[in-house]
């Protein structure tokens, strides 16, 4: 995995994405996150410590969303302002991905 990206389990439920999600970290991220799809229901990713996301990252979020096939909702929690802007511009919220900005 790219030294600049990792995924950590959260105390309660779900996982936290940390670092930079790009073409270099895509494969490993996709592999790890696909396991979250095995259990039924909603998937929440804490992205408060995700400092950068590129088109590969957007692609990954949209693939996860489509893989859920309505069995649950993908939620991206607490993006930094810059990541939130890229998510908005990419239209991910418009296709049904939950984006919970801090303070909401």
């Amino acid at each position: 995995m790219s030294e600049g990206f990792r995924i950590e389990p959260l105390d309660g439920d779900g996982v936290r994405l940390i670092g930079e999600l790009d073409l270099a970290s895509y494969d490993e991220a996709a592999h790890q996150l696909s396991r979250l799809l095995e259990s039924d229901g909603d998937v929440t990713l804490d992205i408060s410590e995700l400092s950068f996301v590129d088109s590969s990252g957007i692609r990954l979020f949209i693939r996860l969303h489509l893989a859920l096939e309505g069995r649950g909702t993908l939620t991206l929690r607490s993006p930094t302002p810059q990541v939130a802007r890229i998510l908005r511009m990419s239209g991910v919220a418009d296709v049904g991905i939950g984006v919970e900005e801090s303070g909401q």
Binding site: S2, E3, G4, E20, D22, L23, A24, F52, D54, S55, S56, I58, R59, I62, Q82, I86, M89, S90
Partner: protein, 129 residues
């Protein structure tokens, strides 16, 4: 570009993308464009990712400098632009690299590398708002 243009050469490997972004951030700071560092990093990241994925180039050159009051960045590979368009209705991919990089800057230029003149050049201009 002006005298103060900096050029760095990167291997065409996805592992260099983090270095590319650090380089862009450092240059943006040097040229007083820190406010726009993130957008410039993302634009250059997408251009380099395309060179890595589609051009079969061995290396990528990134040049950053000022042109008047604007920052200008050039990303160049040694490959041939792949003219065959994807069919998103069928491949179900997003193909958002070029739209995303274009949205990050004021002016976006693409000069396609061809068999006669190899080397795709992507150029970004970002001005203070």
């Amino acid at each position: 570009m002006s005298d103060s243009t900096t050029t760095r050469t990167f291997a065409a490997d996805r592992a260099v993308l983090a270095d590319v972004r650090r380089f862009v951030a450092a240059e943006a700071e040097r040229l007083s464009f820190s406010d726009h560092a993130h957008d410039l990093q993302l634009a250059v990241n997408e251009a380099c990712a395309n060179a890595i994925l589609h051009s079969q180039t061995r290396e990528i050159r990134v040049s950053i400098g000022l042109v008047g009051a604007c920052l200008q960045i050039a990303v160049e590979d040694d490959g041939i632009y792949r003219d065959k368009l994807p069919v998103p209705e069928v491949d179900r991919e997003g193909h958002r690299g070029i739209p995303l990089m274009a949205a990050m800057v004021d002016k976006f230029t693409l000069r396609r590398g061809t068999e006669e003149r190899r080397g795709t050049l992507v150029q970004f201009v970002k001005c203070k708002s």
